[in-house]
C-alpha cells in the first residue's frame, strides 16, 4: 500500500474543472514532483489535501487512513506539513517564533498550566526551542533568529517557511514552488536541503516546482499535468522528455510569444 495516495480526485470552480480524476501514489521516502504550466491545478491539489477546498469526488489516503474529510488543522496533526507558493508566514513575529509555531502540533499542555507557566510547560518550551534550534542549524538561519519576518529578503522568508514546516517534524512534506523568488545561491542550497531532508531526516516530499533543473536534480518520480488532468507520470527522466509534456510547456510558451 502506498504511503500517500490520491484516488480519482476532482474539483470544479464554477464551470472550470480544476482537477479532473487525478490519481497518483507517493512511496515512503521518495521525492515526488508535480509539474505543469500555470493554472494546471498543482496548487489546487495541495489546497485539497489541506482541506482548504473540499473535493467534489475522490479520496486521499495517508498511512492507510482516509483523510479526505479531516479538518484542516487535523491534517497537520497527522504529520503533513506544507509551504505556500506565496509565502504565508506570521509576519509580525520573529523567525524563532515562526519555527516555534511549527511545534504547535506537539503541544501537550493546557492553557491553565500555561497561564501559570508550570514546570512541565517550561520543559515543553525548552524542548521546542531545542527542536527550533536544530532547524536553524540545518537551514543556516542563525543570523535571522531574532529578526522580524516582515523585513527579511524574499529568499530568506522562503527558507523560514521551509524551516517552519520542518519544525513540525512531518512525515510528509508538501512544497509549493520552493525555489520561486530565490537567487542562484539560495536555489543551490535548496537542492541540497531537499536531498538531506529526504535522506537524513527520512521525510517524504511531494513537491510542485517550475524549475526543471531542480526537479531533475532531486526528484525520484514526476507527474506532469495540464488543465486539471494528468498528462503522464513515472521516472523523472522519462516524464521530462515525454513529447506531450514538452508540448504542454512549448504550447504555453508559444502562446506567450504570440500574445
Amino acid at each position: 500500500m502506498a504511503f500517500f495516495e490520491a484516488r480519482d480526485i476532482s474539483i470544479s470552480f464554477g464551470g472550470l474543472k480544476a482537477l479532473n480524476r487525478v490519481s497518483f501514489q507517493v512511496e515512503e521516502g521518495e521525492v515526488f514532483s508535480i509539474i505543469g504550466p500555470n493554472g494546471a491545478g498543482k496548487t489546487t491539489i495541495f489546497n485539497c489535501i489541506n482541506r482548504y477546498y473540499t473535493l467534489d469526488e475522490g479520496t486521499f489516503v495517508f498511512g492507510g487512513k482516509d483523510i479526505t474529510r479531516a479538518r484542516p488543522y487535523a491534517i497537520a496533526a497527522k504529520g503533513i506539513a506544507r509551504t505556500f507558493q506565496n509565502i504565508e508566514l506570521f509576519k509580525n513575529t520573529t523567525v524563532l517564533d515562526n519555527l516555534l509555531l511549527g511545534r504547535h502540533r506537539h503541544r501537550k499542555t493546557s492553557f491553565l498550566s500555561e497561564a501559570l507557566f508550570l514546570p512541565w510547560v517550561r520543559k515543553q518550551e525548552l524542548r521546542n526551542r531545542e527542536k527550533a534550534e536544530e532547524v536553524i542549524d540545518f537551514l543556516d538561519l542563525q543570523a535571522y533568529r531574532d529578526q522580524q519576518v516582515a523585513g527579511l529578503p524574499y529568499g530568506v522568508q522562503k527558507t523560514v517557511e521551509l524551516g517552519r514546516a520542518l519544525a513540525t517534524e512531518p512525515k510528509l512534506l508538501l512544497l509549493d514552488e520552493p525555489s520561486s523568488g530565490m537567487n542562484m545561491e539560495e536555489m543551490e542550497d535548496l537542492s541540497y536541503w531537499i536531498t538531506d531532508i529526504k535522506e537524513e531526516l527520512g521525510i517524504t516530499i511531494l513537491m510542485v516546482e517550475h524549475n526543471m533543473r531542480l526537479v531533475r536534480k532531486v526528484s525520484d518520480r514526476v507527474l506532469a499535468m495540464d488543465f486539471g488532468v494528468v498528462i503522464t507520470q513515472g521516472e523523472t527522466k522519462e516524464v521530462l522528455e515525454h513529447p506531450d509534456v514538452l508540448q504542454a510547456y512549448l504550447g504555453e510558451e508559444g502562446a506567450a510569444t504570440r500574445s
Binding site: Y52, I75, E88, K91, N92, L101, E114
Partner: protein, 357 residues
C-alpha cells in the same frame, strides 16, 4: 543597542529579557506600592481606576491586539463581571470567590460570543459584538428581580477574611495586586503555545491551520480568556463604586476600552496599561491645562470630549504603534544617539498601515 549572549534556552523564555529590566520593574512595583504615601485621596482613586480598568484592557488586548479579533462588546463582559460579583457578595458569598466567579461567568459567555467570530471578522464582528452588548444592557435593565433594573444596586465593599477593603489605600493595593497577577498570567500565556497560536491567527489564518492550530478552538479560547479578565475588572469596578446600574455599561464603555488598547499600542501588554492610564488621566490633564488657555477657549462647552477625540485621532494617524511604540522609539533614540536614523521604524509603520484594511 544591546547584544545579549545566551547560553541556555531558559534565558530565551524568561519574563525579563535583561537583568536590568527586572530591576526596573521591581522599581516600578515599589513606586506603585509607595503611591498612597505621596498621592492625595483623589489621585490615588484615579490610580485605582487605572489598575482595575487595566485588568479589563489587558483582556481586550489579548483578543484584539494579539488575536486580531475586534470586540465592541467588552462593556458587556465588564457588566457581567460587575453584576455577578455584586449579586453573589450581596448573598453572602466571600469576595474572592465572587471575583473568580465573575471572571468565569464572563468567560463562559465569552465562549458563546466567540462562536460568531468563527465566521465573522473585521466590521462584521464589530457589529455582532456590539449587538451582544446591547442585549446584555437590555437584560440588565429588564431582569428586575435579579438586577433591580434601572434602579441599580448597592454593592458591599469587599473583604477577604477579616480584612475589609474600605479605605482608598486598601482598595488600591487590592486592585494593584490583581493587576499584577493578570499581567503575569497574560505574559505567561504569550510565551507558551496558546499565546503564540493567538498571534498566529492574527497574522495568517491559513498558515495557522497548516500548523495544526484549530481556529475554532483558539478563537473561542481567546474570547473566553479575554472575557475572563474583563469580567474580573468589572467585579473590581462594582466593589469600588459600591453602586452599579445598567447605564454604567453602555456601548460608550466598549468604545473607551477599545480606545485604550489602540492608543496604548496594539500587540503589547505595556500598551494596554499605558493606554488605560493615558485615557483615564486625559480629562485631568485637560482640566489642568485649562488654566493656561485663553478664556474664550477654556469656557467652551464640550471642550473636553473634543480634545479627547482629537487626541485619539492623532494617535491613530501618526502613532499607529501607540504610546508603547513611541516609548520604544524614544528609548532607541537615546541608545543610538547620535546614530539614530529616522527611517528605522518606517518599515514597521508602513506595514501596520497596510494591515489595517
Amino acid at each position: 543597542m544591546r547584544f545579549v549572549m545566551k547560553r541556555d534556552y531558559n534565558e530565551d523564555i524568561r519574563l525579563f529579557r535583561y537583568r536590568s529590566t527586572f530591576f526596573w520593574y521591581l522599581a516600578l512595583v515599589a513606586g506603585c506600592l509607595m503611591a498612597p504615601l505621596v498621592l492625595d485621596e483623589y489621585l490615588l482613586s484615579q490610580l485605582t481606576f487605572v489598575c482595575m480598568y487595566s485588568v479589563a484592557t489587558v483582556g481586550l488586548m489579548l483578543l484584539t491586539g494579539y488575536t486580531g479579533q475586534i470586540s465592541m462588546g467588552h462593556a458587556a463582559f465588564f457588566a457581567i463581571g460587575a453584576y455577578t460579583s455584586a449579586i453573589l457578595t450581596n448573598h453572602g458569598v466571600p469576595f474572592l470567590m465572587a471575583l473568580v466567579a465573575a471572571g468565569f461567568l464572563a468567560g463562559l459567555v465569552g465562549i458563546v460570543i466567540g462562536l460568531p467570530a468563527l465566521r465573522l471578522s473585521g466590521l462584521y464582528l464589530a457589529i455582532a459584538t456590539m449587538a451582544f452588548s446591547f442585549i446584555v444592557e437590555e437584560i440588565l435593565a429588564r431582569w428586575e428581580s435579579v438586577t433591580r433594573g434601572n434602579m441599580g444596586m448597592m454593592v458591599e465593599p469587599p473583604s477577604i477574611g477579616p480584612l475589609v477593603f474600605e479605605s482608598e489605600t486598601r482598595y488600591y493595593y487590592l486592585s494593584l495586586v490583581i493587576l499584577i497577577l493578570t499581567i503575569v498570567a497574560a505574559r505567561n500565556l504569550l510565551r507558551s503555545p496558546t499565546g503564540r497560536a493567538m498571534v498566529a491567527i492574527r497574522d495568517s489564518e491559513v498558515a495557522s491551520q497548516a500548523m495544526g492550530i484549530s481556529l475554532a478552538k483558539f478563537k473561542t479560547m481567546a474570547f473566553a480568556i479575554s472575557a475572563f479578565f474583563t469580567g474580573v475588572g468589572g467585579s473590581l469596578y462594582a466593589h469600588k463604586l459600591t453602586f452599579i446600574n445598567p447605564e454604567s455599561f453602555t456601548i460608550l464603555l466598549s468604545i473607551e476600552l477599545l480606545a485604550m488598547v489602540i492608543v496604548g499600542g496594539l500587540g503589547s501588554i505595556h500598551g494596554a496599561v499605558f493606554g488605560t492610564a493615558f485615557i483615564i488621566f486625559l480629562p485631568q490633564i485637560i482640566i489642568m491645562t485649562k488654566d493656561y488657555m485663553p478664556k474664550y477657549l477654556a469656557e467652551q462647552t464640550g471642550l473636553e470630549p473634543f480634545i479627547y477625540g482629537v487626541m485619539i485621532m492623532l494617535f491613530i494617524l501618526f502613532e499607529p504603534l501607540g504610546i508603547y511604540g513611541r516609548w520604544r522609539k524614544t528609548k532607541f533614540y537615546f541608545e543610538m544617539f547620535p546614530l539614530y536614523k529616522k527611517d528605522t521604524f518606517r518599515r514597521e509603520k508602513k506595514y501596520f498601515k497596510a494591515e489595517r484594511h
